[in-house]
Symmetry: C2
Subunit: 332 residues, 2 copies
DNA sequence: CTGAAAGCGCTTACAG
DNA sequence: CTGAAAGCGCTTACAG
């Protein structure tokens, strides 16, 4: 009953204190001033639970990512949290570790906590886990889940643009024989990237040779192994594209260990543009996934939903090539 | 009044529903079962605000870091969040961007949200910003703020151990002329690291020469510039230690650009053991700051405080050397 | 084992 | 411009 303390000290009713707290303009300036002083003197902070209970609003968003240790996410989280802070919204944060079961419990926790919106920025998805959400009328936005975009807000990633750009770059440098380090096709995003690569290859009439596509585990090690596989193969490609930067870096290590100089003897291109890709020698040419934009679209979608504004046209995000030092003309 | 819905459907009072919800054992199994069914059928989720208001507990912790994009933090956040989830505690998350003013508003937001504990894992600190916290009886734990450890719980980092170990390693390899890339002494952690380096140098009777200590901005660029400075100087050290990995990587770049091979012509050692340090070629020898342990100590301290357990002996964390490929014997 | 009722701290129509 | 009072959804002594 803390607001009562303030009220007594300022010799007004709790209603008046509440009005001051909420910036109502139907309080006489002098009264308002008295209340303000009492608040300051008492170092009063209002109880958010009572307020939320009364108002039926929590000003809380939930943010779920796969794995905060994956350097893809921090910037996204950073941007999301920043925008929320500006709107007076707090965010509770959780990660699934790429585990669908954990996804469910993450969602449940958020629902129980009474969030008004959830951004599920994970690559793994489980439609059943989402069932509990719409029931409660909680706004939801997903990352790159085209299959679900009729039911939930979605931020789509248009991979093909990025691959086309990268392949054009390589082609203009003179490359034709281009390998690909894919991710496990059980990861929907890895699967989608591989498809986009193939489409782009065909569109540019570049040959897709058997043995030129090797699968890695999405981590540095996997990239190194994949590169070893490529090098062990018969005719060696003059350029290699990797599904993500971590594997591109692994591939770089393997190539260097095998005495192959990058880019003089082979060009290498990653995908994501993680901060690391700029710290490695040679700095990695890569396709940048615009993380900041993803965060912005996701947050805006939630904000609009919560405000009851009509749903915006589906948000999409376009990867772009960042040319650095790991690509160059093929050896003669 | 949603619990009433459940009560009606199960033909009991709200008190009974509440008891079932809270696992009270004074409910007849049959009744309990009926209530459970009603809850499931109605897809009921209890209102956390009403509950918290009544109980006076929020089961919410706050976590403040400097900058989530700094690779030092994600693992810490990850571990903290994981332990919280296990205890049924949610965490609201915020970052200061190394800005003391933002620190204040971060703390304020957390206090207003009613967190039961705050972990302030930032290098910058502002004692005044903390004033508002203890007033409310909110448990607080800081990272490496020895000056404040009588008033707040603190996780101390014992830098000297790490530097001694690294310097011994270099010394045993045959190095005597060792340079240091320091951080701005306005950063308390950079200042502390520099002091520890000096102490360790003296302890091992290694010479500290003028011009061998260069200051960088803690980022990759700063490290590169610092290394250029060192190379421009007269007598070149055979080994260089950097205050953090990012600057060590910058130094590596600068050395490579200058045609200096690492470690053959110069040894390089970082500090932090960021994931990047293992991805760079050559892989970086570095002093590992145990992020997971920091998170554990911080969380435990908060948990104990909230549970009213008596304060544990001050927690400390010891950096350890990780030897990789960037250090070796000095050139003849 | 179960229910009626008070109360957690706030906000807001309603009345003046 | 201000106050008295109801009510947000829960939990828990109290009484039975």
């Amino acid at each position: 009953m803390d607001i009562l303390h303030v009220a007594k000290r300022a010799r007004v009713s709790t209603a008046t204190v509440s009005r001051v707290l909420n910036g109502s303009n139907l309080v006489r300036p002098a009264t308002s001033e008295r209340v303000r002083r009492a608040i300051a003197e008492l170092n009063y902070v209002r109880n958010p639970n009572a307020r939320s209970l009364r108002l039926g609003r929590t000003h809380l968003f939930g943010l779920i990512v796969s794995d905060i240790k994956n350097p893809f996410f921090p910037e996204l989280i950073d941007a999301f949290e920043g925008m929320a802070a500006e709107q007076g919204i707090d965010v509770i944060f959780t990660h699934t570790n790429y585990d669908t079961v954990r996804l469910r419990s993450c969602i449940r926790r958020m629902v129980e906590r009474g969030v008004e919106g959830i951004a599920i920025m994970t690559s793994e998805m489980d439609e059943e886990a989402l069932q509990q959400v719409p029931t409660r009328g909680i706004a939801t936005v997903l990352l790159n889940q085209p299959a679900l975009q009729d039911k939930y807000r979605n931020v789509a990633v248009e991979y093909s643009e990025g691959f086309l750009e990268a392949l054009r770059h390589l082609q203009s440098l003179g490359h034709r024989e281009i390998g690909f380090i894919a991710g496990p096709s059980t990861f929907s995003s890895a699967f989608r990237r591989r498809q986009s690569w193939e489409t782009a290859m065909k569109q540019l009439r570049l040959p897709i040779r058997p043995g030129r596509v090797v699968v890695g585990d999405m981590r540095v090690e996997g990239g190194a192994n994949a590169m070893k596989g490529i090098l062990a193969g018969g005719s060696r490609p003059t350029a290699v594209l990797a599904t993500n930067d971590l594997m591109a870096i692994g591939a770089l290590h393997a190539a260097v260990s095998a005495g192959i100089r990058i880019p003089r003897e082979m060009s290498l291109c990653g995908f994501d543009d993680l901060p690391v890709s700029n710290m490695v020698v040679p700095q990695l040419t890569t396709i940048q996934l615009p993380r900041y934009e993803i965060a912005t679209h996701a947050f805006e979608a939630l904000l609009q939903a919560v405000r009851g504004e009509k749903q915006p046209p589906r948000a999409a995000v376009y990867p772009r090539l960042v040319i650095r030092k790991s690509t160059g003309p093929p050896p003669k």
